[in-house]
Assembly symmetry: C2
Homo-oligomer: 555 residues x 2
């Protein structure tokens, strides 16, 4: 045990580092204006907390207090350090905005500052951010949003009547007829009604109760909220959540933060990333040895894998969930993004209800949708909804209470969600333009999905499943043994080494497969199909060239 | 221990309840369309989970699986029940949208359906929702938002040039020049720069680094994120967070959810809800017996109490935090809402820097602002920012990573935050209108703050401190012993009984003091000053009448 006296000596010994380090450390804050500020060296606080980390928190607190009493307040260790912060937060990883993307941003800055590189721009194919890649917003949606923001525009002749009608209806649902008012925490009532009617149309008449709809801050918010409800128990009884591998890293990040057990099931790459019930069973049995698996998450159409699950597969998954008493979570944010011939989107809810009351009356399901994907790609608005089916009424009351703490989802995002579920209808003035824009975007995505698959499969050492849906390809790449060895020596995932080199040499920003999970010994990357066609062709051609060069270099 | 055989018998015994209960229970879902669906009775699942709740989760899982194998899948207990859900979520309470507000919404529906009541409308004075109470948005802000939503409006002559300039600048900062693109997770860079310049102006030149600014989804998001970083340890070492009593219940709700220890310090009602250092000391010493207090939260101007802390008080609080090694969290969302003569808003950051390098170089501070309050009241946009000072660089990297999982705060809210920190300047075309609107709103609030205090203090048994700032009064009410007894018999807080009766008899919706915390044996309510002046007068007059009647009735 360290006595407070020892700590004091320790600090004295460290003090000599303080002065010449501090100005650098807080360079951002102090800049030229207040260079007299003297701050503790990060090294000194780090070392101190390291040296104290064997002590209990209360004991450390005592030591800090003793330090204060000794008059060293200004040189005390920070309250919040990497050692004393929330440990579960440290475990969180999110590759889609991870180190490779940070480096891409840095390279962009270097290019702007005139740095010479073997390329003139960074092409970001790391994130499903359609507008950033040049996709145009749907005119009707933006007209209604402008009208909602500034209702004085209702008097303008330049706005079509159906846009005014939608804006009027949304504003009627808002407190004080302003989108600046809080909404009900579950979302604006008339919008939840529109969502319910949309789901009924989509699912061929299966009934939907607006009371089961919760508007959310993007789909992520709904997913995290549902996971939060499900997590309980300790040790062997701790909640396990089954997620696909590869997965969208929101899931692993949320599970890490909530301290739940991540239970992996592998998608079948050989069968176009489909789900195998035998693999679900294996995964579940294994998990039951050490935790309490309670929910099964499915992303369909798939992210990062781009597959579209068949109706048969969904039915089997539902049967499996029913048999094993698992709560189903269906992430269906790409429901309009289906490109491949013979593929069709089937919502989990529709299949569930077609399976009859034995299932539709019992299986608990939460499904998620968003304004961020499909043909609209309005990520910045953070709109979304979730529908809960067969949820226990007491739990639902708890859910409603929980979302009320954050007051309400952003109202502009709610308005946008309303337009997505209630777009212009035949006969309305905006219908033709809307359909033209929608079709153009979806056809263009379909074309790029095919293009991506085709070109990638011409490269020896790259193997790409059909991009049946969503916005991504997730090809397997063969890496030379020497590259794998080098990466391991660097403590890096081999596909991270590959993607980092790709970025530095070509300006192309992809996310390594290791950020999504993959079978041991296999390597992948996720690439969006979102860049404009001409840019996508350049990207694919550069990628092809890079892959060949990389393979040669390490062979 | 229950064997699976016993459970099976138990279920058989319960089955007779199933059929006639199910249709009622799922009435919402099934409505008239699919009345054939048979669902388990909520009573049966509840009883089952109750009876199983003594068993381990793994054992319960086993029983459910046995049940499935026996072919009772369709009658199995739910996966997610009140007994098996996240226990910390159950502890969360949020009075501002609690039972009294739910009842108010119900009464509104009853009135709409023609029910006869002693009043014709519900007056909601429960939540700081300015637009819902008729406050008009700032024209300039909404013009810019319309331009950002639908940039085709840039060609319209009816929009002023400064609005176009702001919209252009914001759109330049967006991916693909669209507010539909994701922003950087920390927020759009040029907006963070504008925030930094605003803080420098506000604080008389104290430097602000845009890298210390994080744009957020309302202030709530920033506060919860900071608390999340701070929580660690178990048992005696568990993080304690000091919050004022009365408090804004976001804090208690977030602490419950995070499993942190809520450490109460009482504001001094006799001294106009000021902070006493001796009380902080008492609270801290007591807390150190059972947890590890690491942060001190201050709301200034105060919610629900409406006080404005003096510069001296803030300086003492900072010294206390420095001495006791506490991380400071300053909730400053009402920074423009200061009404009382002699009161002035002092930001914690400004005072901290005026105290010299001994403090400014060491005390860790996070401060929060929002688009929801002040003169703009744009709650629905969920805009906000936080500034972190002296945060450990490694922790900051973790913070940046953590916020990246949720991708980005809503971009329309970010745009609005930009306008708040960068409003029209003298000489710009919109300046005069902007200033006129801003001043009118703030003067009106000041008038209503005074009116509320004056009228409330004319009622015997109501004692109201000056509403120096923010948007609330939090008067103390004297309740007759008989009313207190009746409430206790009902298991209700006495001020809840009072507020519920007030709602039923007059249509006025307030929040009981028990939802914010108060000294034992004292009773309060929180009332916003937001209703339009004429309606506020009616409200206060009805309240006065009710209080007198209530007092008589129970005396």
């Amino acid at each position: 045990m360290l006595s407070s006296r020892n700590v004091w000596i320790f600090i004295q010994a460290e003090k000599k580092h303080i002065c010449h380090r501090s100005s650098k450390h807080f360079a951002g804050l102090n800049k030229s204006r207040d260079s007299s500020v003297i701050t503790p060296s990060p090294l000194s606080s780090f070392s101190l907390s390291k040296s104290l980390s064997g002590l209990s928190a209360a004991r450390r607190g005592l030591i800090h207090r003793k330090m204060s009493e000794n008059g060293v307040t200004s040189r005390r260790s920070k309250v919040l350090t990497i050692d004393t912060m929330n440990a579960t937060v440290k475990k969180v990883e999110y590759a889609v905005r991870g180190p490779i993307v940070q480096r891409a941003v840095q390279i962009e800055k270097e290019l702007n500052e005139g740095a010479k590189k073997p390329f003139t721009e960074v092409i970001k194919a790391n994130i499903g951010d359609a507008h950033a890649m040049g996709q145009q917003p749907i005119t009707f949606f933006r007209q209604v949003l402008a009208l909602c923001s500034y209702p004085e525009l209702m008097n303008e002749n330049s706005f079509p009547e159906d846009a005014k009608g939608r804006a009027h209806r949304i504003l009627q649902g808002c407190g004080g007829k302003s989108i600046g008012a809080y909404s009900a925490s579950q979302g604006i009532e008339c919008i939840r009604q529109d969502v319910a009617r949309y789901i009924e149309r989509r699912d061929g008449g299966v009934p939907c109760d607006p009371d089961n709809i919760y508007l959310t801050t993007g789909a992520s918010d709904g997913i995290v909220t549902m996971l939060k409800l499900l997590v309980s128990g300790e040790g062997q009884s701790r909640t396990g959540i089954m997620i696909s591998i590869p997965q969208y890293p929101l899931y692993s990040a949320a599970l890490a933060e909530l301290g739940a057990v991540q239970v992996n099931y592998y998608l079948n790459e050989e069968k176009c990333w489909s789900m195998d019930i035998s693999e679900l069973q294996r995964s579940l049995e294994a998990a039951r040895q050490h935790c309490n698996p309670r929910a099964l998450c499915v992303i369909n159409p798939g992210n990062p894998t781009g597959q579209v699950q068949s109706r048969e597969c969904i039915e089997e998954v539902i049967k499996f969930a029913a048999k094993e008493n698992l709560f189903l979570m269906a992430d269906e944010v790409y429901q309009d993004n289906v490109y491949a011939d013979g593929c069709e989107f089937h919502s989990f809810k529709k299949v569930l209800f077609e399976m009859g009351p034995e299932y539709s009356g019992t299986v608990e399901l939460a499904s998620f949708h968003s304004t961020s994907k499909c043909y609209m790609g309005e990520c910045g608005f953070r709109g979304g909804y979730m529908e809960v089916i067969n949820m226990d009424q007491e739990v639902k009351a708890q859910l409603t209470k929980l979302v009320s703490v954050r007051l309400c989802p952003p109202v502009p995002g709610q308005a946008l969600m309303d337009l997505v579920v209630n777009p212009p209808q035949p006969g309305e003035p905006s219908y033709n333009t809307f359909m033209k824009e929608r079709t153009a975007t979806l056809s263009n995505l379909a074309e790029k999905a095919k293009l991506t698959e085709q070109i990638l499969n011409t490269v020896p050492g790259i193997m790409c499943n059909p991009v049946q849906g969503a916005m991504y390809s997730f090809p397997q790449i063969t890496l030379p043994e020497r590259a794998i060895k080098e990466a391991k020596e660097k403590g890096q995932a081999p596909d991270m080494l590959y993607c980092m080199k790709l970025l530095e040499e070509t300006g192309i920003c992809l996310v390594p497969g290791s950020g999504f999970g993959q079978r041991d010994g296999t390597y992948h990357f996720r690439m969006t199909i979102l860049p404009p066609t001409e840019k996508l062709k350049i990207l694919l051609s550069k990628l092809k060239e890079f892959h060949q060069k990389f393979t040669q270099q390490y062979s």
